[in-house]
Amino acid sequence: MTIRVWGQPAAQAHGAIDAAFARITHVHDRMSFQCPGSDVSRLNRAGIGERLRIDPETVAVLRQAQAVARAARGVFDPTVAGDLVREGLLPAPAGARPPDPRATFDDVVLAEDGVVSLSRALWLDLSGIAKGHAVDRAIAALAEAGVTEACVNAGGDLRAIGRACPVALRTGFPDEALAVVTLEDGSLASSGGRAESRHAAAGQHRNGVLRMPTVPGRFACVLAQTCAVADALTKVVLALGLGAGDVLAGFGATAHLREPDGSWHALGCAAG
């Protein structure tokens, strides 16, 4: 995680950066899959129909995840963690009861008052959107502290304000042309198939409908206003490939997609 701030006296910049890190820590504490005290872990232990009151920020991330899941007709699904654990790709969360193999993200029921309940036992893993959300929160903290030029980078998920930020994409194909995106404002997130990875869980993305790994050799870079949306949409682009254009456009987002044959394609809202 890197936070860069320009145009501020050092003391003020450090204060703003500390505030930004505190927001990030809060997101981690509430939304970690492995941390037993997180809201996600509480949901992963919850019984069917049990009503849980969770942090408003976790509720907001769940709502955002639902918006992406609905627009993408289920190919983005934060409950694929159950499949990954079953296949030994992800360690099982401590203390969680086994998930129902039929469960999908539709089984997470969000009430108007922010109370969450489950209609099937499931394992939720918000890591496909919470990292982007943490970047958004960090940028918000910086802006509240009066920072006008900054870049927050969480290992490929990043958001910039006030300053052009060049990013070389780590596609995992180092012999090919280097893709460089210069982000002037807004957010960027990228994800790849990395089928060859030994650390399968870290590089595994699933199509939430087919419950199958996404196409190996694909790499998606998504640009959107918020980093949470960009983060979630990378999974949609990996799953749908060139067919993801409409979903992207619905969120005002653009993507640069590398297909397994090495070709690059721009999708979604007009670039530039």
């Binding site: 995680m1 890197t2 890190f21 990030i24 820590t25 997101v27 981690h28 970690s32 941390c35 990292k131 943490a134 969480a154 290992g155 070389a168 780590r170 596609t171 995992g172 180092p174 012999d175 090919e176 042309a177 280097l178 893709a179 460089v180 995106v181 210069t182 982000l183 002037e184 404002d185 807004g186 957010s187 960027l188 990395r194 990875s197 030994r198 650390h199 870290a202 590089g203 640009l223 959107a224 206003q225 987002a253 653009t254 640069h256 690059w264 721009a266 809202c269 670039a271 530039g272």
Partner: protein, 176 residues
């Protein structure tokens, strides 16, 4: 989003910044030695911890000593370099810890990082938090050492590793 996208031909790159995330070797041992003890010559010393020394370390810290072999180098300018491994999320991370002649941390270097995520522990600013720490310092993630979101396990295990090596130094090397 206002942005530009360009593909730079691989052959035209004089500085390559693609760094695939996995198994990146950041520093060779020789480079780490030069950074941590510039100008010094280093003499390798391999120490096998005795059962009493292992028991002393485990009693002080409540941890298990996995490896009784301590890979250390004594610097001609005073101080020690210890190379050890700590567990990241799934893989071991080799680290080099430099301790000055008074027993305080001079620096920590990450030699290799094999995980796909969480390489924020490489940030110089994060590692600099260890400088000056001694045996007995709290060295607790979220207290005197900042947590790194997305690299909690790596940052915790490096913090625990530095703490263990400071005690190992005191128990096995300081008198040497």
């Amino acid at each position: 989003m206002k942005h530009s996208f360009v593909l730079l031909p691989a052959a035209a790159l004089s500085v390559v910044c693609t760094a695939p995330a996995r198994a990146a070797v950041y520093l060779t041992l020789a480079e780490a030695q030069r950074i941590l003890f510039p100008g010094a010559s280093l003499t390798p010393v391999t120490v096998a911890l005795s059962s009493d020394q292992v028991a002393a370390i485990e009693a002080e810290l409540g941890v298990t000593v996995r490896n009784r072999q301590v890979r250390a180098w004594k610097a001609s300018t005073g101080g020690w370099l210890i190379v050890d491994e700590v567990l990241g999320k799934h893989e071991f991370i080799p680290i080099a810890l430099a301790i000055d002649r008074s027993g305080a941390v001079r620096g920590v270097e990450i030699l290799e990082y094999r995980e796909s995520y969480g390489d924020g522990v490489r940030e110089a600013g994060w590692r600099a938090q260890f400088t000056g720490k001694r045996r007995g310092a709290a060295l607790r993630l979220g207290e005197d050492i900042r947590n790194i979101s997305g690299a909690t396990l790596s940052s915790r295990h490096i913090t625990d590793g530095v703490k263990r090596l400071l005690t190992t130094y005191a128990v096995a090397l300081a008198s040497g």
